[in-house]
Subunit: 451 residues, 2 copies
């Protein structure tokens, strides 16, 4: 039996397996559930025939490793993926519960369907189909699956440093991304990320708004002034130095971040959004791919219940995410945010700004690397179209981690989905099925890679 | 036995009763618990010997009525109080749980101890002591206790309109206030209140901060700009018309809102507050008593959990409370806030502003009313000091409600406490005991009132 037939015969089973995997609410912050997902993956690796399968403890969530190394003289490929997912709130905006996978209109809806349990499973299914039908894999494979990608992979660098020998390889294949078979593309770079929390304190407790309102400092009011100082009315960041170390967008790169007016309109329509915001001198795609951004991801202060409670809040908190580009240093960027916040803090309150662990710099692909050449040829043969290079606005810490830790180049080939990090995340059943064959082809094609 | 001895003999029992009353978590918004508090009060009225005791249903929480009308040719006095309390959050800032009354250092700590279950009980204890020791009350008493004061007494006006005959009286005595026996005072006026909620919507769902950050509208960011437009850096309200219809502070009134530097410092020190904010041209006491204020009472947007979630929030909400003075109309003031918010709304988002029910105008006492004259004489005889008039920054809807609904003047005599509406609310045991005697004296003294 060839692997095409094998895959066809197992579709019902694989969709059921994916649903089982998606039912584990492995939100990065909930270690017990992430561990369950790790064990689910490890068991699957065993079942397929991988060796040295182990769930490695780290300071955070565990890393799952397994290998199949019986292809002498062939390249060794690291398959990377993650089994943790973003938190699912706000829950009331989900059509069906995030951890009860539901199939509607040819899509699997669940937190983690597209990002990226579906994509992780594609790699394993391809290995299984190849091993069951040919008795071997075309290349040596080392699987490195982690449980902290959604919080910036804080433990992965140390895991790699601690296991450099075990992880020697020729390249990394990552499927934490989408694919557009109509417009195949190769990752040219992605933004970095850093996270901060702003804490405002105006008094040692909330006080009665009637007794003191008009004279007493208000943490919510102070925080609003601080946050309003971060962007101008158009949405451009006002922090001195925030746009330092950003590369000019040159003519050779510009086509890689170009969107048609129809594509821009589709983004607006899809989100019921009135208009884009941000730096007027750049297109929306340039703003969200090649320019840094400061995103207010959450605010909380004072009374949160029904109606209005007559208090003056003594505390206010904001969660901030930075997206960084080119050679911007996360540390330097966080420092500029902190300096600006402190300089724009009203005199009547105390402010602290915490930098969260897990910051990661932006990634730029080594454009002349053989892996990228292979990637281009593979996509051309798969789609009969010449792939374009593209920058993405998201962050793939793994690309930087493998570059820094093992000197390896990463190719990203994933089958994506929609509503990543948002309610009603989904992956199409069609992509889930196509992806299995494509991963078999990837492993067969890459056997000739010479790094 | 005289009532002094009677009270002394029953102190242990009364403190126990107060604790029992405080254990009912009768937060205005939780109707079942407010009903329990109403029934507790009604049972107590029965036990003391009140007649026509009834828990009246309203559209909101119930009103408890009871009377004792066997003092012919004597005035009829309405005793007003409320048995609902403010919500207790943030719970983690309480030293002991808010609904487990705890005695420390001569204070009873619990939500509602000072505001105002302790003060309500003082009225009942005084009536009980007088009835048990003299067989009668010095005046006719009608008790009107409600369960919605902390949400602006929305049902009380209709209750009064529906029971005008039953509620005929000469005056109202309200104890929802504090007392300073060293500096006795008479209420000259209090601020009104109105509440609004601002809802910002930037998209139909949260989106991935990496994919879109820098180009996609952000509800939290838009709300911050809106909220920051409400006050200048000093804390003065920037809404056009917000200070309309505000009386000048004339020289005859100024002494009634004067605080010593020591008193101002004590407020700052008590709250660990760095400095006052607001209109520089007025003193802090003037700002919070004779000037209107706009208070941001709560903000919520985006991710609320641990760490930072990489999303662009699609919704943001703020709770606003206005405090109004003089002849300011709540409707007009709310209108000016709405107009300003809409005019300062970034183009990329949709905003709605809801005005909550229960707004109430400010109260000015009729300064030549016989009740105020009695009030002054009573305080003079009680404290051997001449009382001063004072304005308070809080809102006593009942004063307006009884003025509008029954044409009655209200005198406020309460024994207060500290941390109203805040964590670690308390009432001193000394005030709780003194208050019982004082309420006996009040009822004896007021028998000669001629309205």
């Amino acid at each position: 039996m060839n692997w095409t037939t094998y895959l066809e015969e197992h579709q019902t089973e694989y969709v059921r397996d994916l649903c089982e995997f998606l039912r584990i609410p492995s939100v990065s912050q909930v270690k017990t559930e992430v561990t369950k997902a790790a064990e689910w993956v490890a068991e699957r690796l065993h079942k397929i025939g991988f060796e040295h399968v182990q769930v490695y403890e780290t300071k955070g969530n565990s890393v799952v490793y397994g290998d199949w190394l019986h292809a002498p003289d062939k390249p060794t490929v690291i398959l990377y993926a993650h089994y943790d997912v973003q938190p699912a709130d706000p829950l009331d905006l989900w059509t069906t519960p995030p951890f009860e996978p539901t199939i509607r209109d040819g899509r699997i809806y669940a937190r983690g369907s597209g990002d990226m349990k579906g994509n992780l499973l594609l790699q394993l299914i391809a290995c299984e189909a190849l091993l069951k039908t040919t008795g071997a894999l075309p290349v040596n494979v080392k699987v490195v699956y982690e449980g902290e990608e959604e919080i910036g992979s804080p433990s992965l660098p140390e895991f790699i440093a601690d296991h450099r020998e075990m992880l020697q390889a020729d390249c990394v294949l990552d499927s934490d991304t989408g694919i557009d078979l109509e417009r195949p593309s190769i990752l040219a770079g992605c933004r970095g990320a850093a996270e901060l929390e702003i804490h405002v304190k105006s008094a040692n407790r909330d006080v009665h708004a009637g007794l003191f309102g008009g004279a007493y400092p208000n943490a919510a009011q102070a925080l609003s002034h601080i946050l309003a100082s971060l962007h101008n009315d158009e949405g451009k960041v006002l922090i001195p130095g925030f746009y330092n170390h950003v590369d000019d967008i040159t003519d050779d790169i510009r086509p890689w971040v170009t969107a048609t007016p129809e594509e821009e309109q589709a983004i607006l329509r899809n989100g019921d959004v009135k208009s884009f915001v941000g730096e007027r001198e750049f297109t929306p795609h340039e703003r969200s791919r090649l320019r840094p951004a400061l995103i207010i991801a959450g605010i909380t202060s004072g009374y949160q219940g029904e109606g209005v409670k007559g208090i003056i809040p003594s505390e206010a908190h904001a969660k901030i995410q930075l997206r960084l580009v080119a050679s911007q240093s996360p540390e330097e960027s966080c420092r500029s945010v902190i300096d600006h916040v402190l300089q724009n803090t009203p005199a009547e309150v105390d402010v602290t700004v915490d930098v969260l662990p897990g910051a990661v710099r932006a990634y730029k692909a080594p454009m002349d690397h053989p892996l990228l050449k292979w990637n281009a040829e593979f996509l051309t043969s798969l789609t009969s179209k010449s792939p374009v290079y593209r920058f993405i606005g998201g962050t793939l810490p793994v690309t930087v981690v493998f570059q820094d830790g093992l000197g390896l180049c990463t190719a990203s080939i994933g089958f994506g989905g929609e509503n990543f990090h948002a309610p009603d995340e989904w992956m199409s059943l069609e992509h889930f099925q196509t992806g299995q064959s494509v991963w078999c082809q990837i492993l067969e094609s890459i056997r000739d890679l010479k790094v």
